[in-house]
């Protein structure tokens, strides 16, 4: 980066809104960069995105093509991670599995984030009986065992990756509502909110345009830290045969097929497990780093 751009970004007296925003973002990036573990996390997540986007190019084989004469081959130059019980190339399946994982994580966060945000921000801003009722419901859901509840839901809805997403989303929103409410409670009495109210803004407008945007950073942190949990739950459902259905290359389901061969062909279950660990660790490290930058009051 040239010195001029740097100076423009770090200027103490930005001349436009864009300049000040970019400057803020740059300062945060500088702070983020000082944490090596967080940078590792970011690298892992970028790698996951690349693997998902370029899966057909990276994969050496068709992830679904069976070759029964090449069953359970050990890792080699032709099959980096070996082959599974149907002769499918495990490396290609792991790479394509990145798409499934990303699909589940994004879908859950996209459903859960707005619901939690809306419930929490409304409860915190409105106060009174609305707050009591909404938080009571949130607490009830928070007191449930998440995985078991998701299991019962999938049992009711039937197995499948869409139903797994619904079940996870159904059990994952309460912590978001809690975080958003805590933020909204603080904002509620802020002077600028009083100013907006005096200008005649409706409660809906205040919540949607002024409260929610300011709750968002802590929710981004929360959801990044939550993504590892979502990945693990989805993999667990897949492992039990309740998530993604065969032949979809889902990491948890791949471990389940490797389970029968664990003592003799250990590589079948090993590779997808390492993939899950790496990605989940990446999100955890990234979340920790983001928390330090975006939400300094929560970090220790």
């Amino acid at each position: 980066m040239s010195i001029v751009t740097r100076a423009w970004l770090l200027s103490d007296s930005p001349s436009s809104r864009l300049q000040s925003r970019l400057g803020q973002a740059y300062l945060r990036w500088l702070a983020f960069r000082t944490n090596p573990l967080a940078v590792v996390g970011l690298a892992i997540v970028v790698l996951l995105l690349l693997a998902a986007a370029l899966a057909p190019i990276i994969a050496t084989h068709d992830p679904l093509r069976q070759a029964l004469d090449q069953r359970l081959l050990a890792p080699s130059g032709a099959h980096f991670f070996g082959t599974d019980s149907l002769g499918r190339d495990i490396f290609s399946r792991v790479v394509h599995g990145a798409r499934v994982t990303l699909f589940v994580v994004l879908l859950v966060v996209v459903t859960v984030g707005p619901i939690g945000l809306l419930v929490g921000a409304t409860a915190g801003y409105a106060g009174g009986w609305i707050d009591t009722v909404l938080m009571r419901v949130t607490d009830i859901f928070l007191a449930f065992p998440r995985l078991i509840l998701a299991l019962a839901f999938v049992a009711a809805l039937g197995p499948g990756i869409e139903n797994a997403v619904i079940a996870i989303a159904f059990t994952a929103w309460p912590p978001y509502a809690r975080v958003a409410r805590a933020e909204a409670l603080v904002l509620r009495n802020a002077d600028f909110i009083a100013a907006v109210r005096l200008q005649g803004a409706s409660p809906a407008r205040i919540v949607l345009r002024h409260v929610i945007p300011l709750c968002t950073p802590s929710l981004i942190v929360r959801s990044t830290l939550d993504m590892a949990g979502i990945i693990l739950t989805a993999a667990g459902l897949g492992f039990l045969g309740l998530g993604a259905q065969p032949p979809m290359p889902e990491w948890g389901a791949m471990i389940a097929t490797g389970r029968e061969h664990i003592f003799d062909q250990w590589w079948v279950a090993t590779a997808p497990g390492i993939a899950i660990c790496t990605v989940a660790l990446g999100f955890n490290l990234l979340g920790d780093g983001l928390r330090d930058v975006l939400d300094p009051k929560q970090s220790q």
Partner: protein
């Protein structure tokens, strides 16, 4: 604070729990309703004439409005009637009574391991903040938040059972030791010790140690992380400086004074982690063929045995809520400020 006010607080706590429990029942009832299996068809078969179908529907109470059906559901639960399992043809309650001790044994040993290692690890990390040992504890902990429990179990079996041969394989006991000890509590370690069957005890322990360690690792990850952050908070306080100025040994300042205070919020953390282990046992038990509640739930699930699934969900949920309540009460008893 007066004892009366304390009682009032506890009373409010119980009321909250009652509402939560009602919510749990509402959810299990609701799930039971949305299942795409028609309970009437399941009872009469699809060849039954329309009048038989209608009669059975009325007998089962399915023609009533939903709120009445929910009321009857509540009455049934209050009588301890969780229905009958299609798979085992026992009552669900009897089934759960049979399998629950196995899960309890696993989760308890896991939590004990987690506390015994996690608390000291967290303290050491906090005292040596920023040094390599702190980073090490942090990475070990973060890894615990990132590894799938079923995969760790499989890898454990591969390494410690297959390759090193130092632990027992899947299941609770070796075939040779089955049915030697008459159950007293259902917890094999306790039963065999009480009956003096030490060979059985050793075999049971060798089967228990790996799944319990796997679960214990997750408990350790959570407990060490929380201990570290509670300890950092305590070490900043003035009483710590005072104790040091008084000339107390550093060891005493850390392990007695600071940890003593950090233990108060840790009660909640430990109770929560115990509850999470009961839940984590679902996947662990599947991997280790452990005949506990978790495997009972997943087995019933794969066979569409909804009474058993919902009964198991209800029991785990109840234990969850009870542990939450217990930790709240303990917290208030131990910390006078929280009363």
């Amino acid at each position: 604070m007066s004892p009366r006010k304390f009682t009032a607080t506890i009373g409010r706590e119980f009321a909250t729990v009652a509402v939560t429990f009602l919510g749990l029942l509402l959810v299990t009832f609701f799930i039971g309703r949305v299942v795409p299996i028609d309970p009437v068809l399941a009872a009469v078969g699809d060849r039954a004439p329309a009048d038989v179908y209608e009669r059975v529907k009325i007998e089962l109470g399915l023609d009533l409005p939903l709120y009445q059906q929910f009321w009857f559901y509540l009455v049934k639960i209050a009588h301890g009637d969780l229905g009958r399992s299609v798979l085992t043809s026992n009552t669900v309650l009897a089934d759960i009574k049979r399998v629950f001790p196995a899960t309890l044994e696993l989760a308890t040993l896991g939590t004990i391991l987690g506390v015994l290692i996690g608390v000291p690890a967290g303290v050491v990390a906090a005292v040596n903040r920023g040094k390599w040992i702190d980073q090490f504890v942090r990475v070990v902990g973060l890894f615990g938040f990132s590894v799938p429990v079923f995969w760790l179990g499989l890898m454990g079996l591969l390494v410690f059972y297959r390759m090193l041969g130092i632990v027992g394989g899947p299941g609770r006991l070796g075939v040779a030791f089955d049915d030697i000890v008459d159950p007293i509590t259902g917890v094999i370690l306790l039963d065999s010790a009480l009956r003096g069957e030490w060979a059985v005890f050793r075999d049971a322990f060798s089967h228990l140690v790996l799944p319990a360690s796997v679960l214990g690792y997750f408990s350790l990850a959570y407990i060490s992380r929380m201990t570290r952050s509670f300890m950092l908070e305590q070490l900043r306080q003035e009483y710590v400086t005072t104790a040091r100025v008084k000339g107390l040994a550093e060891r005493r300042v850390i392990w007695r004074h600071a940890l003593g205070n950090a233990l108060v919020p840790l009660i909640t953390v430990i109770a929560l982690s115990y509850a999470t282990l009961l839940e984590g046992s679902v996947l662990t038990e599947t991997v280790f063929a452990w005949p506990g509640l978790g495997r009972y739930i997943t087995n019933s699930l794969l066979n569409a045995d909804m009474n058993a699934v919902l009964g198991g969900t209800l029991v785990v949920g109840t234990v969850f809520i009870a542990l939450n309540l217990l930790s709240d009460i303990l917290y208030r008893l131990v910390d006078p400020r929280a009363r």
